[in-house]
Symmetry: C2
Subunit: 223 residues, 2 copies
C-alpha cells in the first residue's frame, strides 16, 4: 500500500513526530490522494501500534523511556529465541545469506567515517539485513511477523546516528560470535550473544534519550 508506506516512512524519517496532530485531509492533500486510502493506512498503523487515535485525527505514538525498556525486553526475548532456533534449523543456504550480510556489515563499518550520517544509515540498513537473515533461518514466520513490528520503534528515535567507531567495531564482534554459534549449532550461545547485542542497543538508545531530555530541559530554561 502506498499511503501506508508514505506515512510510515515519514514517521521513521522524523517528519511526523509524537504529539503532532495529523488530520486525514491534510495528509491526503500532501500525497495527492483522497481521504479513503489514507484512512485505511491509518487503521493499519493503529493496529501496529505506531500511531494512536486522537479525538480528532491521529498522532504518532509517544514512546516513553519505560516503553523503550519494555520494547527492548520483548525484542531481546524474541530475537534471542530466533537466534537459538536458527542454530537448530539453519540450512547451508541460510548460513550463506547470513555471512553475506555480515560481510556487507563489515565493509560498511570499515568505510565509515566518524559521524557521517549517510554511512551510518547504510550500516543500519545492512545490520537489519543480518538480523533478518537470522530470523529467517529460525524457520518461524510468526515470530518474524512480531519482530518486524517491534523493530520499527527504536528506529524512530534515530539513536543510531550517535554510534561511534569503537561501538560499531564492538557490535561487529558480537555479530561474528552469533554467526559462529549458529554455524556450530550452539543454540544457547547464539541466544546469549543476541541478548548481549540487543541490550547494547538498548543502553545506547536510553543514553541517547537521556541526552535529548537534557537538551530539552536546557531549552526550557532558556525561555
Amino acid at each position: 500500500m502506498d499511503a501506508y508506506e508514505f506515512i510510515k516512512d515519514a514517521i521513521i524519517e522524523g517528519k511526523f513526530v509524537p504529539g503532532m496532530r495529523l488530520a486525514e485531509e491534510s495528509l491526503a492533500k500532501e500525497m495527492n490522494l483522497s481521504r479513503t486510502p489514507i484512512r485505511e493506512a491509518i487503521r493499519q498503523l493503529e493496529a501496529e501500534g505506531l500511531v494512536i487515535p486522537l479525538k480528532r485525527g491521529v498522532s504518532v505514538r509517544h514512546f516513553t523511556k519505560d516503553d523503550i525498556r519494555q520494547i527492548y525486553d520483548l525484542r531481546t526475548l524474541l530475537e534471542g529465541y530466533a537466534a537459538s532456533q536458527a542454530a537448530i534449523h539453519r540450512t547451508e543456504n541460510d548460513l550463506v545469506e547470513m555471512e553475506k550480510a555480515n560481510i556487507l556489515y563489515e565493509e560498511a563499518i570499515n568505510q565509515h567515517v566518524e559521524s557521517d550520517m549517510d554511512s551510518l544509515k547504510d550500516i543500519v540498513r545492512v545490520n537489519q539485513k543480518f538480523h533478518e537473515a537470522i530470523v529467517t533461518a529460525s524457520k518461524n514466520e510468526h515470530i518474524h511477523f512480531h519482530i518486524s513490528k517491534v523493530v520499527v520503534v527504536p528506529i524512530v528515535f534515530r539513536s543510531f546516528y550517535w554510534y561511534n567507531s569503537f561501538q560499531l567495531k564492538q557490535s561487529l564482534e558480537v555479530h561474528k560470535t552469533i554467526l559462529e554459534a549458529i554455524k556450530n549449532r550452539e543454540p544457547e550461545r547464539a541466544r546469549i550473544g543476541m541478548h548481549e547485542h540487543i541490550y547494547q542497543g538498548r543502553d545506547h538508545v536510553l543514553k541517547h534519550l537521556e541526552q535529548i531530555k537534557n537538551i530539552h530541559l536546557l531549552k526550557e530554561e532558556e525561555k
Copy 2:
C-alpha cells in the same frame, strides 16, 4: 469499531472459515453498512494476520499444523516471560486479581459436566481472565499487546470443546502452581509452570487437528 468486531467474532465463532472468499459488498450488506467501514476493518484484521488479502477480496487465514506449532512456541515464550516478570513486579492488588480469577476458574471446573459446550465456553473465558491477570502483573504492556494477537488464533480452532474433566482438573493444578510461584516471587518456577501449561494446550490442539484431519480424510474416502 463495529465492523471490526463483527468480522472478528464471525471468524472466532467459525461462521467465516479459511478458504472462504469474502467480498466487501456482501459483508457490507450482511451488516447494513457501506463498504467504507468494512474496508477499514479488513485492513486492521490484515495487519493482525487474522485475514489474508486475496486477488479478489479476502479470506480468513488458513493455519496449518506448522503454524500452530510456531504460534504456540511464540506464545510459550511470551507468556512464560510474562509469568516470570509477574513474579518480580506483581503488587498485592495483582495477586488479588489473579486469585479471584483462579477461584472462578475452579468453580467453573467443578460445575462442569462432561462435554457441555456452554460450561466449557465459561471455562475458556475464565481461563483467559487468569492469563490476562498474569500478563497485567508483568507490567509490560507491549508484551501484552503482542500476546493478545497470538492468543486469538488457537481460539479459532475451538479445540477447547474437547477437553475432558481430567484434563481440566490437571490444568487447574498447574494454574495453582503458577499462582504460588508468582506469590512467592519465584520467576523461574513461574515460567516453567506456564511453559508446561501452554504446551499442554498445544498438544491438545494438535491432537484435535489430527482428528479433524482424519474426519476429513474419511469424508474424502466416502465420495
